[in-house]
Symmetry: none
Subunit: 197 residues, 4 copies
């Protein structure tokens, strides 16, 4: 089954799935719920996605592309990286992880049940790529002298852990915009101490 059909409905269903899988997990989310949220009829979901598992797979893997593009772009500009560039990068990461709430939840849902979902493989591969990306940044920063000596692997693990954990360290929406607080902490992981006034 090719996918000429309406790309708009396809997207509506995707967004509905992302939201509901994030909020209720895989099993609790029903096709009926997704159809309703997407504003399409029950059977239409099956017109665009072969089955529930296929829709879930799409929700988990499709958004990765965007972040991969980000890494690709950032790599190209790495030779001219400065401390300021790094700070901006960290800020971008934090914003990305804080804003894509639905997507991040789905990711963590899958990582939390690795034996259950085969999608874990795509996420593993992505995490690996991201850590290597960070390690390259670390080496660049240490070479250029704007980062203190650290073990790049340690930092890459710690930084990813931190990004993944941010959204789990509080639950009330009120705190959701404290990006700057997290930014200072993230920079410390790179060995950068902000000066307190």
């Amino acid at each position: 089954m090719a996918k000429p059909k309406s790309n708009q409905k396809r997207e509506q269903i995707f967004q509905a799935g992302l939201k509901l899988f994030a909020e209720n997990g895989y099993t609790k989310t029903t096709i009926k719920d997704i159809a309703q949220e997407a504003g399409v009829s029950f059977g239409t979901v099956f017109t665009y996605y072969e089955n529930k598992a296929a829709l879930f797979r799409t929700c988990v893997t499709a958004p990765l592309r965007e972040f991969k593009n980000h890494m690709h772009d950032a790599r190209e500009e790495m030779p001219s990286m400065t401390l300021t560039t790094l700070k901006n990068l960290v800020k971008q990461h934090i914003s990305f992880f804080m804003e894509r709430e639905h997507y991040l939840r789905v990711i963590q849902y899958v990582i939390g049940q690795p034996e259950r979902f085969s999608e874990i493989e795509a996420l593993d591969e992505f995490a690996d790529e991201f850590r290597h990306f960070i390690q390259d940044i670390m080496r660049t920063g240490m070479d250029k002298g704007f980062l203190p000596k650290s073990d790049p692997e340690e930092v890459s693990y710690g930084y990813l852990a931190f990004l993944m954990g941010m959204r789990l360290s509080f639950t009330d929406q009120a705190k959701a915009h404290q990006t700057s607080a997290f930014k200072n902490q993230a920079l410390r992981l790179f060995g950068i101490q902000e000066v307190l006034q």
Copy 2:
């Protein structure tokens, strides 16, 4: 719930529930699975827990007590805290979060679906208590001079985020014992730079 019954079976069922809820989530885990894992018959699960939700609630909230005890003990010894004590504390935290894999997964599962599970309240309260605990440590350390000036609230959020995220930053068991790498990163969040040889 001071039922006479067999506390051993109660515990078996609890452990089975903890494991399976962690691995498969709430809905995917069936009572039949839990009974099998616990080595009891189907109906026996209902002899010890009113229903599936009650067993889940127990799995989420009961283990909190142990960590609350830890915080209580650590508070009593806070007046005599040194940098070494703090390092040990951090090491304990990392070990705790890395070793209680099943429990941590369940926690993150609930935090990831806060609208769905009312157990989130107990976790919110606990997170609050933990952050205050860290903030008090920060103040003590800054007073005594073995911690650099930082915003205690920022650090407490960052540190909890880091602990919560550790287990989500990799998925292969092989990496699960890199406690020391994480320890260095955690100390950086407190403003402590280890000297690299």
Copy 3:
């Protein structure tokens, strides 16, 4: 409930429910049994009725409408009532109560367990309406002189009791067609003595 769906299946399920609830009571009757009796699949029952209780409610209350129509029609012709008309009416009532065996059983089942089934309210209301109907007939008959003086309320209670009890006063089908015997007795409740040859 103006669902499009197939009204034929809806009716099949209704009839199956009426029969089985009558024969086995509410709890003993299973949805599986009803589906089988109706010649539909298990899940289809739930396509037409929200749940077992809703189907039961329909079985108890829907048939009342027909008898209410009967009373409405009879009221319109009450001004021209004669002894012969009354005799015909009584005969109709007896036939109705003797022929709708399934329905009458369900009614009596509910009346026998009034605390258990909320449907009792609709039946209460109906019984009230029926007794008032009989009382109006009594008054008409006494005014016109073809009924002897009696307490209309007493008669209405006695007559309803008699109608309800007919089907309970024997159990073998053989006796089920003795309509005429019951008719004579019913007329006596109105104060009419048939002359024995």
Copy 4:
């Protein structure tokens, strides 16, 4: 299993069963409920009654003995029967049927589901005996001249129908004591017209 055991507990369980079977039917009534109502422990019910069905059978059949004794006694005094004696008898019957609410409900429950409960046989036999009893009274009364000519079989059917139906002709407890109204109606079935003042 003989039944030396405690007759008091046996009776408590019997009464509890009678009440709950009457109120909720057979399937809805649980052994646990009965034990609770009887004030004994769960397992004790099985000490006195082999199983649920055996207890139910006892509830249905045991009380018949009392009414059979009544008929036996009344038969002995039949030769000296007068209109006044008959009126008293009718009054007794009405009182009996109105007062033994739990028992009557259970009876009607069984009669309503004759294919389901084998106890129906004992009830059939009893109804037969009762109708013959009434027929003998009719003949005595007609012989002695205090009853008008009627078909004894018709009257016996009608009278039993009336007695069985009384409790089904209203549902509110308020009306439960209108014994006298029913008495007048019952006498009409025997062909006796009370004179209205």
